[in-house]
Symmetry: C2
């Protein structure tokens, strides 16, 4: 396997407690891989492991599944960690810090050299209060009160996304860099001249409004932030229209 | 149906172009509802509409599916909008602004009173270059170069999450507010006294190290940021231990 962008031991481990659906585990692996997480721990996956269909749902993120480790209990799954966060959708009356995913991941990233894990509960009932009590802090999501129930892999995605952002790695893969430099003002002013002359020739302007319309069109053209190539294209189009007439 | 937290027309419309899998459409509806989006537009869903299994995948977000509108083409689906964003995973060589989801949603929120839509392409091949050319700007995600392929509903989730954040509605549903006020310093100092007396009585301290160990334990107890209730609990536990001895 090729070297991972982010070697194991840097990003937080994702701990799924008694997950049931192969699809959710597969989608979790995919969501982790999307943002560079690779360490998946499963506590007592329902109906055994590996599960039928899990690789299909991972859609290629099989390196995460292949490296997944299985534990019989939460204490075993978190034993080697220095900090554990528990995701929950509802208030537990536990006197523990409650963090949004962005705040939580900022704190995780600040723990340089420490191993952190984020626990996610069962599809229907989440984590037990006892399991939550083993965590340093709670993570919850800023969901709509109308429909607060996040899918398991969706919550993992948000944590993974925020970890990537907090760790300073969230650069987008390409930018809208222009393939041609911005047009020089000389080229642009010359285009204005050609356009206005063509429109004069075509009888477009009511004489009393010529100046204001011409200025409005210059404003429109400025908003396009034209490149050199754009000016050439528009010049060519204008020439073709003038010739046709 | 009860009134929505965010009435239609405020959050961006989600436009899925030729989506194929019922599960992705259902999960999209759920992801939208999680963050308060409700307007789903489908362009030519593959194999017709409604799809078998879509309601199950929406896991209760049926109000989004029931209100979904179907279009034969992208121009029809975006006709009434004032601004359209296209999500793409790869560079298209189009000279268009490229935004991360947080930047994009900040710009969407700034367009008060305007209707905005975000287009998402087909599961395998995304949007065509022609479809992208109908958008005002491109949105792309800060994914790992190792595994950049986001699931359709997962990309919708990230856009919905960032819209909610940008719109100032991303408050978490509960906080870690303490159920008991922080202990007074008098209660805490009295606890230090009881603990140190009990440990003196138990012969815990090597005499030459008593002061430094006592100070270290006070530091540990301070880090707990104890509430009044916590102090009572620890006092009770200490009393029980002393009595047992």
């Amino acid at each position: 396997m090729k070297t991972l962008e982010i070697p194991p031991g840097i990003a937080p481990a994702v701990i799924l407690v008694e997950p049931q659906l192969a699809e959710n585990i597969g989608m979790t692996a995919r969501a982790m891989a999307n943002f560079g997480l690779s360490e998946l721990r499963l506590v007592n996956p329902k109906n055994g492991w590996p599960k039928k269909g899990v690789r299909e749902a991972a859609s290629g993120a099989t390196h995460v599944l292949d490296a997944a480790t299985i534990y019989a209990s939460v204490p075993e799954a978190i034993a080697d960690l220095n900090c554990v966060l528990a995701t929950t959708a509802r208030e537990r009356g536990q006197m523990k810090r409650v963090l949004a995913p962005d705040e939580a991941m900022a704190q995780v990233v600040a723990r340089t050299g420490q191993r952190v894990g984020v626990m996610f509960g069962r599809e229907r009932v989440g984590l037990s209060n006892d399991e939550v009590s083993l965590a340093d802090a709670i993570v919850t999501f800023p969901v709509s009160p109308d429909f607060p129930s996040l899918n398991l892999a969706q919550s993992v995605l948000l944590v993974a996304y925020e970890w990537r952002r907090a760790s300073g790695r969230a650069t987008i893969p390409f930018s809208g860099e222009m393939l041609s430099p911005p047009a020089t003002r000389e080229a642009l002013i010359s285009l204005f001249g050609s356009l206005e002359a063509a429109l004069d020739g075509a009888g477009f302007y009511p004489p009393e409004k010529r100046e204001i319309i011409a200025r409005n069109m210059r404003d429109m053209l400025h908003r396009m932030a034209m490149t050199e190539q754009d000016v050439r294209t528009v010049r060519g189009a204008l020439r073709a229209l003038t010739r046709a007439r």
